[in-house]
């Protein structure tokens, strides 16, 4: 390696590593690392978020999921302990997307209108239960999911 190449490698590696570390530490303190908001937090902010891209995380409300026959369109409610937010989506859903499970919906917030999700991400809880599971295991899994959404 020529000495000039070495110098560029030196500057480049220090800049990239320093930049990545500085960005991580900075975002740690500004709260930008929070990946999603809960329906309650979104409702509390209301108009302030108008036109902004948001991620909302909660549980898919049991009994709220409606699939429009012959299309990929779905409607459901995203719920936390206090609020329920209606969401519409068109497209494929992840394997773990189910009623009573955690979900994160991504889209542009329009106050007053039904939330149109551009992306749906299923959230998995930290519980791992074999297929021949017990009722107790399932109940515990739901409890942890709710806890992680607080």
């Amino acid at each position: 390696m020529t000495s000039q190449n070495r110098r560029w490698l030196l500057i480049g590696s220090v800049l990239v590593v320093g930049g990545a570390l500085a960005m991580l530490v900075f975002t740690s303190f500004t709260g930008a690392l929070v990946y999603f908001y809960t329906p309650s937090e979104i409702m509390a902010k209301g108009n302030e978020l108008n036109g902004r891209k948001v991620r909302i995380g909660g549980m898919v409300q049991e009994g709220s999921l409606v699939r429009e026959p012959g299309t990929l369109k779905i409607r459901f409610l995203v719920a936390d302990n206090n609020e329920r937010l209606p969401v519409q989506y068109e497209g494929m859903t992840p394997d773990l997307f189910r009623e009573g499970q955690g979900v994160i919906v991504e889209g542009t917030w329009r106050a007053g209108a039904t939330f149109q999700a551009a992306t749906i991400l299923a959230k998995h809880s930290e519980d791992y239960v074999p297929v021949d599971m017990t009722e107790e295991g399932i109940a515990k899994s739901k409890e942890s999911m709710l806890k992680s959404l607080r």
């Binding site: 220090v14 990946y35 999603f36 992306t119 930290e126």
Partner: protein
């Protein structure tokens, strides 16, 4: 140290292979998860790989600190070797996580706190390799990488606590003290055996890589001496 590695790496290799085969057999014979189905089997690779990524960096931090304190070359050889081993485990963690994330979450990647801080760890390992290559004087290179490695250790608590401190897409830890353990019954043994297998694999890789680093340095010293002789 290198002599000891040369004597024992074969034994560690056999132990690694046997544990890994037992682990893989358990991984394939364990029941599926009631939510994830068979995809849960990817996590038996992903979780041990992630643990080893952090452990490699922890080892690197200790070796770097010891080198700066004592200025003994073996510590620097261990540091250089652990960077390569750590980079491999981190890359495996990110790749296996992506393969699990696509079908389960519906995304290969998400910029949440856990994934982002883990990517920073990979950048750190790559940056440390680049920095060592960028400095011609080996002593200077050893000192600079040791200092950068110790500064970079700030990422370790961020990775570990990311899923607790911030809301993430990544799930929180399944083991947190004796009171919390959320992996049930038959899903646990494959994880434990694979964890042991990965610790052995990490030790074996470190031994082999250290021998390679030491041999390369010895060769470079010989070459320099010969050049000096032919010029003198």
């Amino acid at each position: 140290m290198i002599k000891w590695f040369s004597k024992w790496h074969g034994v560690v290799f056999v132990a690694t292979l046997l544990t890994l085969l037992t682990g893989l057999w358990l991984v394939l014979s364990a029941p599926a998860d009631y939510q994830q189905g068979d995809a849960v089997r990817i996590l038996y690779i992903h979780v041990p790989a992630a643990k080893m990524s952090l452990l490699s960096y922890l080892f690197l931090t200790v070796a770097s600190g010891m080198y700066l304190w004592r200025r003994q070359e073996p510590w620097d050889i261990l540091a250089e070797a652990s960077v390569s081993v750590g980079a491999a485990f981190t890359a495996l963690t990110l790749a296996s996580g992506s393969i699990w994330g696509k079908p389960m979450w519906g995304a290969w990647w998400a910029w949440d706190a856990r994934l982002t801080s883990m990517l920073v760890l990979l950048i750190l390992f790559m940056g440390l390799m680049a920095l060592r290559n960028a400095l011609e004087d080996p002593h200077k290179a050893a000192r600079a990488t040791a200092v950068l490695a110790i500064i970079g250790a700030v990422d370790l608590p961020i990775i570990h606590y990311s899923v607790v401190w911030w809301r993430t897409l990544h799930q929180p830890p399944s083991f947190a003290g004796p009171a919390k353990q959320t992996i049930t019954g038959d899903l646990l043994p494959p994880l434990l055996v694979m964890s042991v297998a990965f610790i052995l694999l990490g030790a074996w890789l470190l031994m082999v890589k250290s021998r390679e680093v030491a041999a390369r340095r010895a060769w470079e010293t010989l070459e320099t001496e010969r050049l000096e002789q032919s010029h003198g």
